[in-house]
């Protein structure tokens, strides 16, 4: 019975992936990409990797999907999305994709299984009960620190696309919402629930399933709903609190790493006695930065021309 379910799931994942890349219009590809992400999340959940499943559903399908939809909307406003995609197979891309799949398949079978360190043994020293959080924020903190900096760099890249005259305009395009309409009511009703859920995900991440990235994405979605329903106003780049929110995560992370080095350890090695509070502080700061940065990535650079049109 569960074999049938797994086989059906595999077929759905492959089918959605194929429908995403196999020609057709941009909009169709985006919709299938989101569907693919959701199937993939169910797949991760079936494998018992609930942290990855949450991340895939929230970031892979949800946020990336919204990002792609926003890009598609922008292309359409510029009348650039109307051009039909080139007919036939994109041979270089197909070759590159197939080559990558073959290389990964070869690596899977040919490379020896690495001797994984026993996380369960080291877990008590990490300060948290969730092994995924222990790896992300303690044992392999480097990766997470660099990821948070990559997000910041991506946002700066998006902001660089702003025209000089628009720099002090509110961020993003103007969203339309009928005052007193359905969207506005939705934008007032949903954020409190989403806020609770997002904060819970971060808090639970220390010992159960969840974490800064999953919770941050939920909070970013809350902000986006409120923005798109015109319940809150889009901020400006010059808004000081906004700048603080964007850098506080990487900054606190770096500071904690440097302090650890200063107190006799090495960079980013947390002393076991202090690990739990330090991780919670880092996660809280990271969540703020992740939530704000992700939401700002979706609404895009300040765009005064897009607002007045």
């Amino acid at each position: 019975m569960s074999l049938a379910l797994d086989l059906a799931l595999c077929a759905l994942i492959l089918g959605a992936a194929l429908a995403t890349v196999a020609g057709g219009a941009v909009f169709r590809a985006v919709i299938f990409f989101i569907t693919y992400g959701l199937f993939l999340a169910i797949g991760w959940a079936r494998l018992g990797a609930f942290d990855v499943a949450l991340a895939e559903a929230a970031i892979g399908a949800g946020l990336t999907g919204v990002l792609l939809l926003a890009a598609h909307g922008r292309l359409r406003r510029m009348q650039a999305g109307d051009a039909p995609p080139p007919a036939g197979l994109n041979l270089p891309a197909a070759l590159a994709g197939a080559g990558m799949a073959l290389a990964l398949g070869w690596a899977w079978f040919a490379l020896p299984v690495p001797a994984t360190p026993d996380i369960a043994q080291a877990l008590p020293r990490s300060g948290v009960g969730n092994p995924v959080t222990a790896v992300l924020l303690n044992f392999r903190a480097w990766d997470t620190l660099l990821e948070s900096i990559v997000l910041l760099a991506a946002l700066l890249g998006v902001w660089m696309l702003a025209r000089n005259d628009d720099w002090n305009a509110p961020l993003g395009p103007r969203y339309h919402a009928l005052s007193g309409g359905v969207l506005v009511n939705f934008g007032r009703f949903l954020p409190p629930i989403g806020l609770c859920f997002g904060v819970y995900l971060v808090w639970a991440g220390a010992d159960y399933i969840g974490g800064a990235f999953q919770g941050g994405t939920v909070l970013a979605a809350v902000g986006l709903v409120a923005l798109m329903a015109n319940v809150v106003r889009p901020p400006r780049v010059s808004y000081a609190l906004l700048r603080v929110a964007v850098v506080v995560g990487p900054a606190v992370f770096l500071l904690a790493g440097l302090l650890a080095a200063g107190f006799g350890g090495a960079f980013l090695t947390l002393p076991p006695a202090l690990a739990k509070p330090v991780i919670l502080v880092i996660e809280a700061a990271l969540t703020i930065s992740i939530a704000v940065t992700l939401a700002l990535l979706v609404i895009g650079p300040p765009d005064d021309a897009g607002r007045s049109s």
Binding site: V182, L183, F189, L190, I193
Partner: protein, 96 residues
């Protein structure tokens, strides 16, 4: 035992509504009737599935979560249906 039977019957009923909604989505002629098929049938279907799964719940907290999931899905589906319908209406009026 009785709980299992209830789960089977209710989730099967939910699936019937999902199938009906999907058939309506594929067969109905315009956006508005397709939305009608999609939201009405799917919301009922999800309700029956949630109700069916509720018979397997061990704690009240799980029941509350199932109810919350259904309520949020209802809210989102209703809102999105309104927005899509409004966008489609604007498009129809533009075409005239």
């Amino acid at each position: 035992m009785m709980a299992d039977v209830a789960t089977y019957v209710l989730t099967a009923l939910g699936l019937v509504f999902f199938v009906a909604g999907t058939v309506g989505l594929l067969r109905f002629p315009d956006t508005f009737s397709r939305l009608h098929a999609l939201t009405k049938a799917d919301n009922l279907g999800l309700g029956f599935i949630a109700l069916g799964v509720a018979f397997q719940a061990d704690t009240w907290a799980q029941l509350a979560m199932l109810a919350l999931i259904w309520a949020l899905a209802l809210l989102a589906a209703g809102t999105v249906a309104q927005l899509v319908a409004r966008a489609a209406l604007a498009q129809v009026q533009e075409g005239e």
